[in-house]
Symmetry: C2
Subunit: 119 residues, 2 copies
Amino acid sequence: MLVYFIHKEIRLYERETWSALAEPNRLQIVELLRDGALTVDEIAKRLGLRQPQVSKHLRALSDSGLVEVHPSANRRIYKLLPQPYLELNDWIHSFQTIWEGRLERLDDYLCDFSKKNNS
Amino acid sequence: MLVYFIHKEIRLYERETWSALAEPNRLQIVELLRDGALTVDEIAKRLGLRQPQVSKHLRALSDSGLVEVHPSANRRIYKLLPQPYLELNDWIHSFQTIWEGRLERLDDYLCDFSKKNNS
DNA sequence: AGGGAATATTCCTGTCAAGGAATATTAGGG
DNA sequence: CCCTAATATTCCTTGACAGGAATATTCCCT
């Protein structure tokens, strides 16, 4: 249970995850894939994007380990991989003390380092 | 309790959150602030960054609603805001079916739309 | 008021990534 | 084996953004 608070232990997982999701179209793709695997064309159609850009975004998502592809005949079917979301979940939980408002009063701490700072 | 699974309802919160955290130095700043509020100089010192860049990053984080500043004399003390982490947590949980492997078998679904696609 | 510390801002430059358009690749079907 | 659909890749241009350096600002203190 205490595991969430030992945030020193939390893996500094692939930073790429963040930049991969920072691109709005890629985030949309990911949210689309949440409901199930899709082909490139299908994604392009639903999001109103052109096929090459979708391919490129999927490439980025794939490189960051966010999605997985498995070919089926002519098509390539993309689906989400669970790993990054697990890691994200861990990371977010390392902030639990923040969102639970348990670090509200830090003024003592601040006085501390401001004294140490007067070197 | 079911709230985590109704991902249609989840707010498409500020997309800025992602790009704000995509910058490695900003992510480090956030992870640093997890342990408590800090001044600009303190952050700069600990991360080995120059003060102006830290100020700029804090500006970005502030604009995205990730951090909050309250002045104290000469200094400005930055601390994390809980809101974005709550939202991120919700978002991540909307992928719970993924990481729990409950969407493994989607092949039927795929056959579905590939038929529909033959227009 | 003036000086200095802490912080913010501006300007500049280089880099990187996204979209558009065209083209290459791959795989099935006749 | 060619044709076509589905997908990937390349080249190009453009915009956003990060860092460096210098400067502006803010605020306390005497």
